[in-house]
């Protein structure tokens, strides 16, 4: 699974967690501070993910 982090760095995970929520916990990211896009679509944290998926994590900038 390809994970694109908010700083644009990419990490490839061979064993993927079952859901977006579990992935965020693994990465130490608080779900209320980010949006997650799976294969180009915005998804909620309960969404299941698999080894072929591309996950993009978008940090929500504060202020404005």
């Amino acid at each position: 699974m390809k994970v694109i982090l908010s700083d644009k760095s990419v990490c490839n995970k061979e064993i993927s967690p079952e859901t977006v929520a579990k992935l965020l916990i693994e990465l130490g990211i608080n779900p209320i501070e980010v949006m997650v896009v799976k294969n180009g679509k915005l998804v909620p944290e309960q969404t299941e993910i698999g080894s072929c998926d591309e996950i993009q994590i978008i940090r929500i900038a504060h202020g404005g």
Partner: protein, 316 residues
């Protein structure tokens, strides 16, 4: 823009559906444990904002609303939502006001975003700079005083917005403060022991000297706002203010985000506690009587207003 029109069978199996229809969810609301698709999220947010505006009479028919538009996500969402909702309130008019504080590497992009949005929505847009107001950019004012950034900037920005709103004929100022901001402010004021600020309600026109300042997004979370913009193709990656790291708010925000995840509803409870304290203190005198600054004549709570005090302290 998010495309919900095509759904493969596999997607349906592994992405939760909206709690109100068969479409795929884009957002989960943990307090009431509901999923929202794009259409229902937009409808839910706009309905809640309309309730906030009308139930507390923040904006009424015939008013001219000055929207403080930084170009960031919150004020962008506010302007988009008000441009959709206000036609329901006959005779209302919108004007957007952007303050260019003079922060290198930060303001250029957000100023451009504000300009593009107002052009797109055909809304009158006024820009005021700190250089117009006090003769210097914020970056110049803050050399060696970075820790005072938010206090100093907040006072000057409030003054610049109020002046621009008055000259635009506005009857009310709307800001993009969201639920997260409100909860953070409650906690910060409690930590500082600042009771007057904790119970101050700027949304009511208690004095003819001030334009009321209202917060139509105060029941909407920061994440809801981001998702609202994202699903409509309106979310852009903009930089954060470089001075934000110096503020107490940054620590409070981080702490509250952790608490909200562990105990959903924490931020809503904090904002609600402010309303209860306000009601409890209603009629109680916690602030001094209104005075007028001996230097500039603006209304204030002491002999000299905060803007003139800053001018003195900085020698400007």
């Amino acid at each position: 823009m998010e495309d919900n029109s095509v759904k493969s069978t596999d997607d349906v199996k592994i992405t939760p559906s909206c709690s109100y229809c068969e479409d795929q969810a884009v957002f989960y609301e943990p307090i009431r444990k509901r999923h929202f698709c794009k259409a229902h999220l937009i409808e839910n947010i706009e309905t809640r904002v309309y309730s906030t505006i009308t139930e507390s009479k923040q904006i009424q028919s015939g008013e001219t609303v000055a929207v403080a538009l930084s170009g960031g996500k919150d004020s962008t969402a506010l302007l988009v939502i008000l441009s959709r909702l206000l036609p329901k309130l006959q005779g209302t008019r919108l004007v957007a006001i952007t303050i260019d504080e003079g922060i290198a590497g930060y303001r250029t992009e957000t100023m451009r975003a504000a300009e593009n949005l107002t052009n797109q929505l055909h809304i009158l847009h006024k820009t005021v700079t700190f250089r117009d107001l006090v003769g210097k950019d914020l970056d110049e004012l803050l050399i060696g005083r970075e820790k005072q950034a938010c206090t100093l900037c907040g006072v000057l920005r409030k003054k610049a917005i109020a002046d621009a709103a008055k000259t635009s004929g506005a009857t009310v100022i709307a800001t993009g403060h969201n639920l997260d901001d409100e909860a953070q402010s409650v906690l910060m004021n409690a930590l500082r022991g600042d009771l007057p600020r904790l119970i101050r309600n700027t949304g009511t026109n208690q004095s003819s000297s001030f334009l009321p300042r209202v917060k139509p997004l105060s029941s909407i979370t920061e994440k809801e706002i981001a998702v609202y913009l994202f699903v409509q193709g309106l979310f852009t990656h903009l930089p954060e203010c470089p001075y934000a790291e110096y503020a107490l708010r940054a620590d409070v925000r981080s702490m509250l985000a952790t608490l909200e995840t562990q105990y959903p509803g924490t931020m809503q409870n904090l904002a609600e506690s402010k309303r209860k304290i306000e009601q409890y203190c209603s009629g109680t005198k916690v602030m001094g009587s209104l005075q007028f600054c001996r230097e500039c004549g603006d209304p204030c709570s002491g002999e000299i207003c905060q803007v003139c005090r800053i001018r003195h302290n900085l020698g400007i």
